[in-house]
C-alpha cells in the first residue's frame, strides 16, 4: 500500500508540472502581464522595463516558471494587481467554493444513486425509461441555461431562494446554486449507477446470494450495491476537481465570491499571479482527488489489494 501511494505520488509530478506549465505558458507568453498592469493606458517604456526586471519577466519563460514554482513551494503566490496577496484571496475564496461543491456533491450522490438504483432494479419498465430520458434532457441543458432559468423561477418569480448570494455564503443560501452546479453530474451519476447495477446483477456472487435465500434488500444493499458503486466513486472523485474548476459559471450567475469568481476576474483583467496561483491549487486538488479515489477502491472492494 505504501509503495503504491509513493509510486502514484511520483507519477503525479510530471502531470502536475506539465499542466501548470501549460497554464503558465498561456498566461505569461500569450498575454502581457505588464501591459495588463497598466490597464487601458500605455505604460512608460522605462517603467515597464523596470517592472519586467523586478518581476523576472525579462528572463526566458522556463526560468520564469522555475522561479515561480520555487516561490509557490515556499508558500508565496505573489500579489494581485490591487496589492492583495494571492494567498489572502485564496483564503477568502476556497472555503466558499468548497461549501458550494459539498452541496453539489451531496445532492448528486443522494439523488443520483437513489434514482440509479431504482431504475436499475426496474430495468426496461416505465420508471427506468423515464429516468433515462430525463437524465438525457438534464445533460443537454448547459449549466448556464439551467442556472439562469432556475435563478429566475425560484429566486425571482417564486422567491424561494435568494437569487444572489451574500459574500459570507452560508450553506442555506448555497442550496440552489449547489443544485445547479450538480445537475449535470447528477445525470451522469444516475446513468452510471444504473448501468453498473444492471451489469453486476448477472454476476455469480449475486446468484449465490439469491441461492442462499438472503432477503432481497440485503442482496441489493450489501452485495450488489457495494461493487456497483465503484465506478460511481471514481466518477465522483474526478468530479470534485471538475466541479471546483467548473463553478465559474454558477458563481458568476449567483454572484458567489468563490474560486470561479476570483479566477474570472483575474482572467478578464489578465491578473496573472491570481490565475496561475488558483489554477495550480485546482490542479493539485484534482490530482489528489484522483489518488484518493484509487485508494478508496481497496476499501469498497476487498478483492483489490495494492502491492
Amino acid at each position: 500500500m505504501g509503495r503504491y501511494v509513493l509510486r502514484r505520488l511520483l507519477q503525479m509530478i510530471p502531470v502536475f508540472l506539465g499542466a501548470t506549465f501549460l497554464i503558465f505558458f498561456m498566461v505569461y507568453a500569450l498575454g502581457d502581464p505588464v501591459a495588463a498592469l497598466f490597464g487601458d493606458k500605455a505604460p512608460d517604456p522605462a517603467t515597464a522595463a523596470r517592472i519586467r526586471k523586478d518581476l523576472y519577466l525579462d528572463e526566458p519563460l522556463w526560468s520564469q516558471y522555475v522561479h515561480y514554482m520555487g516561490q509557490v513551494f515556499g508558500g508565496h503566490f505573489g500579489t494581485a494587481f490591487n496589492g492583495q496577496p494571492v494567498t489572502e484571496l485564496m483564503a477568502g475564496a476556497f472555503p466558499v467554493t468548497l461549501r458550494l461543491t459539498i452541496v453539489a456533491i451531496v445532492f448528486e450522490v443522494a439523488l443520483g444513486i437513489t434514482l440509479g438504483v431504482l431504475s436499475g432494479l426496474r430495468r426496461g419498465r416505465g420508471l427506468d425509461t423515464s429516468v433515462l430520458l430525463l437524465t438525457l434532457v438534464v445533460v443537454s441543458i448547459p449549466t448556464f441555461v439551467s442556472g439562469t432559468v432556475l435563478q429566475y423561477v425560484f429566486g425571482v418569480r417564486w422567491g424561494w431562494a435568494r437569487p444572489s448570494v451574500a459574500p459570507e455564503a452560508p450553506f442555506t443560501e448555497l442550496l440552489l446554486p449547489g443544485v445547479v452546479l450538480g445537475l449535470v453530474s447528477l445525470a451522469y451519476t444516475t446513468r452510471l449507477t444504473r448501468t453498473s447495477l444492471v451489469e453486476n446483477a448477472r454476476a455469480d456472487y449475486v446468484r449465490t446470494a439469491v441461492a442462499k435465500g438472503l432477503p432481497r434488500r440485503r442482496i441489493v444493499v450489501r452485495h450488489l450495491l457495494r461493487t456497483s458503486l465503484i465506478p460511481v466513486v471514481t466518477f465522483i472523485g474526478t468530479d470534485i476537481g471538475a466541479l471546483m474548476g467548473g463553478a465559474i459559471v454558477t458563481e458568476r450567475i449567483f454572484n458567489i465570491h468563490g474560486v470561479g469568481y476570483q479566477l474570472y476576474q483575474g482572467i478578464l483583467r489578465q491578473n496573472s499571479p491570481t490565475v496561475v496561483g488558483f489554477v495550480t491549487i485546482l490542479v493539485i486538488v484534482f490530482l489528489l482527488a484522483n489518488l484518493l479515489v484509487d485508494l478508496l477502491y481497496a476499501v469498497l472492494d476487498p478483492r483489490i489489494r495494492y502491492a
Binding site: 498575454g31 441555461v145 446513468r191
Partner: protein
C-alpha cells in the same frame, strides 16, 4: 501497457480493460469536457472491477455475427427501427439544413434592429418577440444554428481525426511513443476545461469560430485518443490480426485493412456524444464572453445578453436556450442510439 501479452496466459483482464472502457465511458452518457476526465484505461494500476466481468460477452467488434450480417449492417438494421434514432436524426438533419440555408425559414435580417420595439413580446410575424436592440429573436435563433453546428462538427472532426491517429498509432506500435502520449494526455486532463478555455481564449481577439474550434480540438483529442488506443490494443490481439501478420502483411496494410475497420466503432460513439457536449461548451464559453463574439450570431452570446434582462423579458432568453438544449439533446440521443446499436451488451 505496452508490453505484449504472453500467448499462453489468458489476457482476458487486459483486453477487457481496453474494450470495456470506451463502452463504459459512453454508457455514462458522455465523458464531457465540462467535467473533465473519466477513465484512464492505461494507468498501471489494477483495474479489478473489470476482471470479474471477463466472461461477459464482448462488443461485437469483428466477431462473427449470427445471421451472416456484419457489425455495421446489424447496427443499421437496429437503428432503422429505433424511434430515438429516427427522431434525433430528423432534428439534426433539420438543424444542419437551417445552418446552411437559414433563409429557408427566416426571411428577416438577424442584424437589423428597431429600438422602438426593444424587448417587446411576440407580435404578428415575429413569433418570439424582440431582443434588447429590437432585433427579431426568431431570426436570430435560426441564424444562431450556424455557429453552433459549425463549431460542433469541425471540432469533433478535428478531435476525432487527431485523437484516433495518435491514439491508434500509440496502441499499435506501443513503446516509448505510447508512454509519452499517455503522459501528455494526462497533462491535458489535469487542466479543467473551462479554465483552460477562459485563459486560452481570453488572449484571442478574433471573434470567429476558428479559435474556439482549435481550442476544443486541443483539449478534446486526448479523450478520443484514449478510446482509440484502447480499441486498437484490443483488436491487435485478435487472432485474425495475428493471421494477417503471419501471412506477411505490412504495418500499413494491417492498420488500414484489419485494425482500423474493427476499432472505429467506439470512436464513432464517443465522437457523436462529444459533438453535443462541444456545442454546449462553445455556448458556455460564448456566455462567459471569451468564445464567439458579436457580430457572430450565436445562442451563447444571445443568452448571455438576455440573462441580465430576464426579469423584464424572459422570452429573450428562453428561445435561444431551448434551441441550444434541443440541439445538444439531439446529438447526445443520436450517440446514445448508435451506442446501443453497436454495443448490444448493455440492453
Amino acid at each position: 501497457m505496452p508490453e505484449p501479452c504472453e500467448p499462453l496466459q489468458p489476457c482476458e483482464a487486459r483486453s477487457d480493460t481496453s474494450s470495456d472502457r470506451p463502452v463504459d465511458l459512453a454508457a455514462t452518457g458522455t465523458a464531457t469536457l465540462q467535467s473533465g476526465p473519466r477513465s484512464r484505461p492505461w494507468r498501471r494500476r489494477p483495474l479489478p472491477r473489470l476482471r470479474w466481468r471477463a466472461a461477459a460477452p464482448r462488443p461485437a467488434t469483428g466477431g462473427p455475427v449470427p445471421g451472416n450480417r456484419g457489425l455495421w449492417s446489424d447496427a443499421w438494421h437496429d437503428l432503422r427501427r429505433n424511434p430515438v434514432f429516427l427522431l434525433s436524426a430528423l432534428v439534426i438533419l433539420f438543424l444542419v439544413t437551417i445552418a446552411v440555408w437559414p433563409q429557408l425559414i427566416a426571411d428577416g435580417n438577424p442584424y437589423q434592429g428597431n429600438l422602438a420595439k426593444a424587448q417587446d413580446g411576440p407580435a404578428p410575424g415575429h413569433p418570439f418577440g424582440f431582443d434588447l436592440q429590437g432585433r427579431d429573436v426568431y431570426t436570430r435563433t435560426v441564424y444562431g444554428a450556424r455557429a453552433s453546428i459549425t463549431v460542433g462538427i469541425c471540432a469533433t472532426a478535428g478531435a476525432a481525426l487527431l485523437g484516433s491517429v495518435l491514439g491508434g498509432l500509440a496502441g499499435f506500435f506501443g513503446g516509448w511513443w505510447d508512454a509519452l502520449l499517455s503522459r501528455i494526455a494526462d497533462v491535458f486532463f489535469g487542466i479543467p476545461i473551462l479554465l483552460g478555455g477562459l485563459v486560452f481564449l481570453s488572449v484571442v481577439t478574433s471573434g470567429s469560430v476558428w479559435p474556439v474550434v482549435g481550442f476544443i480540438v486541443l483539449l478534446g483529442w486526448p479523450q478520443i485518443s484514449r478510446i482509440a488506443r484502447g480499441a486498437v490494443v484490443t483488436v491487435r490481439q485478435q487472432d485474425y490480426v495475428l493471421a494477417a501478420r503471419t501471412l506477411g502483411a505490412g504495418n500499413g496494410r494491417m492498420l488500414l485493412r484489419h485494425i482500423a475497420p474493427n476499432a472505429v466503432a467506439p470512436v464513432i460513439v464517443v465522437a457523436t456524444i462529444a459533438l453535443g457536449t462541444y456545442i454546449a461548451l462553445e455556448a458556455t464559453l460564448s456566455f462567459l464572453g471569451v468564445g464567439l463574439k458579436p457580430p457572430t450570431v450565436s445562442w451563447g452570446i444571445d443568452i448571455s445578453s438576455a440573462s441580465t434582462q430576464i426579469r423584464n423579458a424572459p422570452h429573450m432568453l428562453l428561445w435561444p436556450a431551448a434551441a441550444l438544449s434541443i440541439t445538444v439533446l439531439a446529438f447526445i440521443m443520436l450517440g446514445d442510439a448508435v451506442r446501443d446499436a453497436i454495443d448490444p451488451k448493455l440492453r
